[in-house]
């Protein structure tokens, strides 16, 4: 009897929290981990900023395996979290299935488009940000050869690569770009040993700047580049501090802003479903300059990159988006 009462009261509490108009937001950290110094960490920073500024609380879970995606998403919705933010393209098919079952919960997905009356899709113009760091690489290279190391071989990472190559070629038409993907399974996001080995291979082929768009694998790339005394370019978060003087710059992808804005809008009842594109004009992507790399970026570079940035925003220069037609004109 007492057990039954417990169940009933728990159920009632759950129902109450679910019907509460403005619940606390939820964030599902993706594989790769909260402190990957990259994509997920950026999202976590956005959530932290929201907590600091509003004094609110949010619910957070961290995926440990592919199999937990659906279960975690449903649990989050059933707990009454609203809006629920999921990170990464790999969640798309799961969200398509889960979102219609919880019409009263708002979902937001980063890096992929999912249609639904209660889903907001946040995508970034990574190709534009990669274009800018590509230009910096094209100007900074002494050997005329630069490298790109991607994580898992998926269209999103090819989008990074394609934008990067375009930027390199724009600044230095004769430059060679060596490209490698770490692998084809999710473990490619977390294999610093292979990342380091790929970096060494690229350096031995003459690359003196290596751009890593590879999550946790990038840690190995940056390390190997620092050991060999060549430059590297970080991704997603500002990674300049990891090896000061060796990380040339970082391609910023403001996942933190996306999470912060979604949390803010969602808890204030201003959630808008649909597609939101964060590009150069909204500072959704960009390149990082701070005290760790200020000496490496010359005034000429800054001027050229800022000019290109203005042109892209104005629409005078178009950077080809790999995901628009699954091909890259410069590769």
């Amino acid at each position: 009897m007492t057990l039954m009462q417990k169940f009933l009261s728990a159920g009632a509490a759950l129902a109450m929290s679910a019907t509460a108009a403005l619940a606390e937001p939820g964030l599902i950290i993706d594989l790769g981990g909260k402190f990957d110094k990259s994509f997920n960490e950026s999202a976590f920073n956005g959530a932290t900023r929201w907590v600091e500024e509003t004094g609110g609380t949010y619910v957070e879970t961290e995926l440990q395996s592919e199999a937990q995606r659906e279960q975690n998403m449903r649990k989050m919705a059933e707990r009454g979290a609203n809006p629920v933010v999921v990170l990464g393209f790999a969640n798309a098919s799961t969200l398509e299935k889960v979102a219609p079952d919880y019409p009263d919960t708002n979902f937001a997905i980063v890096d992929m488009v999912v249609m639904g009356p209660n889903v907001k899709s946040i995508v970034f113009s990574e190709h534009e940000g990669s274009y800018l760091v590509g230009m910096i690489a094209g100007m900074a290279t002494k050997t005329g050869t630069v490298g790109f190391i991607g994580g898992m071989d998926v269209p999103l990472i090819r989008k990074f690569a394609c934008g990067y190559v375009q930027g390199v070629k724009a600044a230095n038409p004769d430059a060679t770009v060596i490209q490698n993907m770490t692998g084809t399974t999710p473990s490619a996001w977390n294999d610093p040993v292979k990342g380091g080995e790929l970096t060494k291979a690229q350096i031995s082929q003459g690359a003196d700047i290596v751009y890593a768009a590879a999550g946790g694998t990038g840690v190995g790339v940056l390390q190997a580049a620092a050991d060999a005394g060549v430059f590297s370019i970080g991704v997603d978060s500002n990674q300049n501090h990891m090896h000061p003087g060796s990380v040339l710059t970082s391609m910023l992808k403001r996942v933190d802003n996306a999470v912060y804005d979604t949390f803010k809008a969602g808890t204030e009842g201003m959630f808008e479903p649909g597609i939101q594109v964060l590009d150069l004009s909204t500072d959704g992507v960009g390149y990082a300059v701070d005290e760790n790399n200020a000496a490496l970026i010359t005034d000429d570079m800054t001027a050229a990159v800022e000019a290109a940035k203005a042109k892209i925003i104005a629409g005078e220069v178009t950077v080809h988006d790999y995901t628009s037609d699954d091909s890259c004109p410069v590769m």
């Binding site: 981990g33 402190f35 692998g183 473990s187 080995e197 291979a201 946790g216 840690v219 990891m242």
Partner: protein, 321 residues
């Protein structure tokens, strides 16, 4: 492909083969004594984590090495207790060790460093430095031999050379000492060893602990030699590739070296070229990644030679009464 490219690929081969080699020799000791061990991966991972952590706290990679080896040997002891003393299923115990290591490294790492299971980057004396062998610089200009010596053989961390030496030592111990003879006998026919008055349990424990020691070196090399720090699940299946190499090598030390170098070469080629053209047919990188496993299956199926495991492998020894 010019000479320089070939040399760089061979250089990379040697580096990539070393963790496989340590793990493969580790498995060799254990399985030759009749204890199957699919927990190589887990032991390697635990050792990598402890080595990086201890090296970070102490600032010395040698103390880190001790920590890593100790972690691996502890897990080996667990495997020993489960499968020798309590006569449990060796495969299940191995799987359990893999899961245990994958989980516990992350949990402990999160608590210690608050970096999501990663350890901070190791610097200076907290990681193994490349050593340049004597005369590498002066011999460099000698045609052919000079570049090979300079590029391929010299300029690795000390563990690479220890790994090559370990092959020789393993062969000598297994095939030239009384201990080795008994160890092999205990994997083929433990009753005869028991009849001769030698402790089967003692021999198997020794083998399992040697396995833990070598596996530990593999893990230490991963986190302090190849990279500078631990990341979640960084062994990335190398323990299983090492098992494949062990079968491919038919449980022999010299063949183990060959198999590990071959698998290392495949890895180096795959890193260097995303697609390889062989007579105009492009071979995708995924095929190269799968090749170690394909080769193992081919060997197991008996197409090329025959791989016969130690006869008493996988069976706990029960003394007749």
């Amino acid at each position: 492909m010019d000479l320089n490219t070939i040399l760089q690929i061979l250089d990379s081969t040697l580096r990539l083969a070393t963790p496989l080699l340590f793990a493969c020799l580790a498995g060799l000791f254990s399985e030759r004594a009749g204890v199957f061990d699919i927990g190589l991966e887990g032991k390697m991972l635990a050792a990598a984590f402890m080595a990086a952590s201890v090296a970070y706290f102490s600032g010395s990679v040698w103390i880190g090495l001790l920590g890593g080896v100790a972690a691996s040997m502890t897990l080996a002891l667990v495997h020993g207790v489960a499968s020798i003393t309590f006569r449990g299923n060796q495969l299940i115990s191995g799987v359990a060790i893999n899961f245990l290591a994958a989980g516990i490294t992350v949990v402990v790492g999160k608590d210690w460093f608050e970096m999501g299971g990663r350890t901070p980057a190791l610097e200076g004396p907290a990681r193994f430095q490349d050593i340049v062998l004597p005369f590498a610089g002066t011999l460099r200009d000698v045609p052919l031999i000079g570049p090979i010596y300079f590029e391929v053989i010299s300029g690795h961390t000390i563990l690479v050379y220890v790994g090559l030496l370990a092959v020789l030592v393993t062969w000598w111990v297994l095939f030239r000492t009384r201990f080795g003879l008994r160890l092999r006998a205990v994997g083929e026919n433990p009753e005869s060893v028991d009849t001769a008055g030698v402790s089967v349990v003692g021999l198997r424990y020794t083998a399992v602990l040697i396995c833990g020691f070598l596996c530990g070196l593999a893990g230490v090399f991963l986190s302090t030699g190849l990279t500078a720090g631990f990341t979640n699940n960084m062994s990335a299946g190398r323990g299983f590739i090492a098992l494949a190499a062990l079968i491919f090598a038919k449980w022999r030390p010299a063949y183990a070296l060959m198999a590990c170098l071959l698998f290392g070469l495949l890895g180096a080629l795959e890193n260097r070229f995303q697609n390889i053209d062989v007579f105009g047919i492009p071979i995708p990188t995924q095929f190269m990644q799968a090749l170690p496993y394909i080769l193992t299956v081919v060997i197991l199926a008996g197409f090329v030679g025959k791989a016969v495991p130690p006869r008493a492998g996988g069976e706990p020894y029960v003394k007749e009464r």
